[in-house]
Symmetry: C2
């Protein structure tokens, strides 16, 4: 399939490792065995099924959240706004065993009315999840949770009653320089901006 031309890009092998240029910032909320709320900042999480609506988070056994999830089988995922970048970073700096992260950061745990887990009141969007599958991979264990409800602060909703990215102001993390980043400029509509290529005269094999 490869065209018989010289390669234009010289590719360097970086070895077998985890890498993605950028990931969203996910905050996982759980209760421990005494009902104390804990939060951690996770990079390895993401939606993994639409029916049932599901999301995973991958954790090392050494984390407090791992133990809490094995016991309680429930968690929340909160999406923090830019304004809370220091607090979010703090969640990743210490373990729930050594520090009550929510009181330290002066943030407020709210008990979910749907699952046995807390979320952070100040963060604009939260997913409330019950664990439906636990997948052992290696150093990390993947917890797949069914999303039983999505909740959002009324003030961040758009006219379609969905969270507005310009109001939520979500954080992403750049893994190459380990920096938190704002979500930037809009450069095109999904399922739309590519149509111009399909319409171009001379596009081969266009449907």
């Amino acid at each position: 399939m490869r065209k018989n031309t010289a390669r234009r890009y010289f590719m360097i092998s970086l070895g077998a490792k985890t890498f993605a240029p950028v990931t969203p910032v996910w905050v996982v909320g759980t209760y421990d065995h005494e009902g104390r709320p804990n939060v951690m900042t996770a990079a390895w999480a993401g939606i993994c099924c639409s029916k049932p609506p599901s999301i995973y988070v991958s954790l090392r056994k050494a984390t407090s959240t791992y133990g809490n999830l094995m016991e309680r089988k429930a968690f929340t995922i909160s999406f923090p706004s830019e304004a809370y970048v220091k607090e979010v970073d703090c969640f990743g700096l210490v373990s729930g065993r050594e520090c009550e992260k929510l009181s330290t950061t002066k943030l407020t745990p709210i008990k979910s009315d749907v699952v046995d887990a807390p979320y952070v009141e100040e963060f604009p969007v939260v997913l409330e999840c019950k664990v439906i599958k636990v997948v052992e991979i290696g150093l990390h264990t993947e917890f797949i949770g069914e999303i039983l409800d999505v909740k959002a602060q009324q003030t961040v909703l758009d006219e379609n009653k969905m969270p507005d990215v310009e109001k939520v102001k979500p954080l992403v993390c750049s893994l190459s320089d380990m920096t938190y980043r704002k979500v930037g400029e809009n450069i095109g509509k999904s399922f739309s901006i590519g149509k111009v290529i399909l319409k171009q005269k001379g596009a081969k094999n266009a449907p």
Copy 2:
């Protein structure tokens, strides 16, 4: 644990659904049974283990990529730059069954030297993966792949020989308004910017 104060934020229930304010843009490369390269733009993917380094992609059975993955047990994940936003959108607009997406978009498939799958030459970073686990969740099936190598164009590497986010210029997708976005402004260093809270005089329970 909840403080006995009135809630400051009115939370609206949006129901059980998949939602995340923003996701990276992942391009999955596979070969079909006749060795034809196919690419698709996926939203539901992410790193899921550090040892072995692993990444998942969740797919509906209806996609060409699902069939290719079940047969070939190998895939690549490419990270496109902003400059290719139209091409990337095109990959999501049509099925590999009805359109040869790479020739239509004038992009170049390169056969991986590590796994039985192609990647897109023009995209600056690629992960080469073999399937190590298939997890049935519901409408989507999760394919977990071990990352056997990460490759990057020499021109996007920083002084530590890692891909530089300012040169890769990765895309993210805002799911609330279905737009492609640039990665924006740096607003703080990870594992660093939160230390100020732990050092604050009067921070309760700081370690």
